[in-house]
């Protein structure tokens, strides 16, 4: 009991001093569970997020864009790998987490439950979805748990790169044909509101935020981050020449921020509950790939066993 108390004190002091918790350090079970869940969910999001973009690799209309897109999707697989590794430092197991993903026990970012309908979606995902992800993730680079914070530093660097590439694709398309400009506008219309929902429910409806902030896993509330994203994105939309689909969007000089319209939280909740346009498809696709890879993983394990025994 005394040991636990002193461990707990040590943990709390480390957090308070803004120092990093490392794998060897004692942590409260709820801190561990919260982190595993959050990092796993983040890892799952990277892996599921490969699908909507991967959908366009074989059809990318220039070889340069094809290479950029393929590299981006590959990076996402890499991010998934780092993040699953980070959960392993907390005692989780990758196979077990994958099972939780494909059985629907763990979530991933709801944004990936929307379909990608034209090649412009590739650019808009880079611009808006990666943009929102960065807003969410930059503060995580200072997360109290060391391995997660370090993974986030690397991931954020790559995400910014992706975001610029997405924006650059849109810039090119906006300088192109009328059909291309329409595609960009139409994709923006579809992705804008779901991007705002990426920050999660409004602060009043987000019961876990307080504890996560106390533990310095989270540094800002959902609404703070959402506002930051809007303020960052509106001028980008203007530079691009697209209209954001919100008639209530306007500069509020008093607040020094943009006011924006009401989010349709009922849609958010439906998608979260599994009833978005692609939830079933995304999980089924991942499950199929996992199931169809089972014999390959078994073969690799059998081979490794033989090899060890022979050595």
């Amino acid at each position: 009991m005394t040991t636990t108390e002193s461990l707990e004190t040590h943990f709390e002091r480390t957090i308070e001093a803004d120092q990093r918790i490392e794998p060897r350090d004692w942590v409260p079970e709820k801190y561990r569970a919260t982190l595993i869940r959050q990092i796993a969910q983040h890892a799952h999001s990277e892996i599921i997020g490969m699908q909507p973009e991967g959908n366009w690799i074989t059809r990318a209309p220039s070889l340069r864009r094809k290479a950029i897109l393929l590299a981006k999707v590959q990076d996402e697989a890499g991010h998934g790998l780092y993040l699953y590794s980070a959960t392993e430092t907390l005692g989780a197991d990758r196979g077990d987490l994958t099972e939780r993903l494909i059985s629907g026990k763990q979530k991933y970012s709801s944004i990936f439950n929307y379909p990608t309908l034209t090649f412009a979606d590739v650019g808009v995902i880079g611009w808006l979805v990666d943009g929102a992800a960065i807003c969410n993730q930059v503060p995580l680079c200072r997360c109290s748990y060391g391995p997660y914070a370090r993974a986030m530093i690397r991931i954020c660097k790559e995400e910014s790169f992706h975001q610029r590439q997405g924006y650059e694709l849109l810039m090119t398309m906006m300088r192109g044909t009328a059909a291309q400009r329409e595609m960009v506008q139409e994709a923006t219309n579809r992705w804008w509101w779901p991007s705002l929902m990426m920050f999660g429910p409004p602060d009043g409806d987000s019961p876990n935020t307080a504890q996560s902030m106390a533990w310095k896993i989270k540094r800002h509330t959902n609404d703070e981050l959402r506002q930051r994203f809007v303020d960052m994105t509106v001028p980008q939309a203007e530079a691009l020449g697209v209209t954001l689909p919100d008639p209530d969007l306007r500069w509020n000089a008093e607040r020094g921020s943009y006011d924006f319209g009401e989010i349709d939280w009922s849609e958010f909740k439906e998608v979260l509950r599994g009833n978005g346009p692609c939830n079933a498809q995304r999980v089924a696709h991942r499950k199929r790939a996992h199931d169809e890879g089972a014999w390959v993983r078994e073969a690799a394990a059998a081979h490794a066993r033989k090899h060890r025994e022979a050595a």
Partner: protein, 264 residues
């Protein structure tokens, strides 16, 4: 001249079409590590295709008439997206589809054969009198060495894994084998470009040695299956492809062709 352009198309199309087949594996691999590896190999080959198609354009390949104005200054895209099937010069091995139905053993066998053959070619090509080709080859040798090793490692793991994986891997090799013969046919263009192109027939022994070694380590049998015929002797290098090629190109070219005047 024109032979050089044709030769660059051959090597470029091989890489482009094989890369496409690897792209189709994206989000379907058995492990994340393979997701990363297959994408990586697809990217390397895509890079080689871009250099080689660009070189083909500079060497004087006629641009397809249907390629819009915007594409004129990007020969790689004009050639990739606006040529018709019979204008593609890749060997038929690259067209083999392995992702639907999903067959990891098949893609590994396809890649093992493709990379072993291509590595032998590129190694010799580093001595080409054409400095651009020599440089592309030198870069490619490093990349394709990794591709071959990746495929060889999986061939061994699957061949010497479980009974089931052994059967699957042997079936994969057997399915790929009819496409091997064509790889070593010397094409008139290759004959005409002495010191610039390499004669693939020269690499058959090296290829057989590698395959024999890998199969031996994998407890597999090197197949003894005759080569796939051409149509009146015409094969991939002559623009005569398998029935899968039309579907592949329909998908690859759909967006580009829907917007011939666009830049991306």
């Amino acid at each position: 001249g024109n032979d050089l352009a044709s030769y660059c198309l051959m090597l470029g199309d091989d890489a482009l079409i094989m890369s496409h087949r690897l792209q189709q594996w994206c989000t379907r691999a058995p492990e994340l590590e393979d997701e990363v590896a297959l994408a990586n190999i697809g990217l390397d080959l895509l890079g080689q295709a871009r250099l080689l198609l660009t070189r083909a354009g500079k060497a004087g390949t006629a641009m397809p008439a249907s390629a819009g104005a915007a594409v004129a200054d990007r020969p790689e895209d004009a050639l990739a997206f606006f040529r018709d099937e019979h204008e593609f010069r890749n060997i038929r091995l690259a067209e083999l589809s392995s992702h639907e139905p999903v067959d990891f053993a098949l893609v590994i066998a396809q890649l093992l054969v493709f990379a072993t053959w291509r590595l032998a070619l590129l190694r010799r090509l580093t001595d080409s009198r054409d400095p651009v080709l020599a440089a592309i080859a030198a870069k490619g040798v490093k990349e394709v060495t990794y591709h071959r090793d990746y495929a060889a490692q999986w061939t061994v793991r699957l061949g010497d894994g479980t009974d089931y994986s052994h059967r699957r891997m042997q079936s994969g090799l057997d399915a790929v084998w009819p496409y091997v013969g064509e790889l070593f046919d010397t094409h008139p263009v290759e004959r005409a470009l002495a010191d610039v192109a390499v004669d693939p027939a020269m690499s058959r022994t090296e290829f057989d040695d590698v395959l024999t070694q890998v199969c031996s380590a994998a407890t597999l049998t090197v197949p003894d299956i005759p080569p796939l015929a051409g149509v009146s002797g015409r094969k991939g290098r002559d623009g005569v492809h398998t029935e899968e090629m039309g579907f592949l190109l329909a998908e690859m070219q759909a967006v580009a062709r829907a917007h011939p005047e666009a830049t991306w």
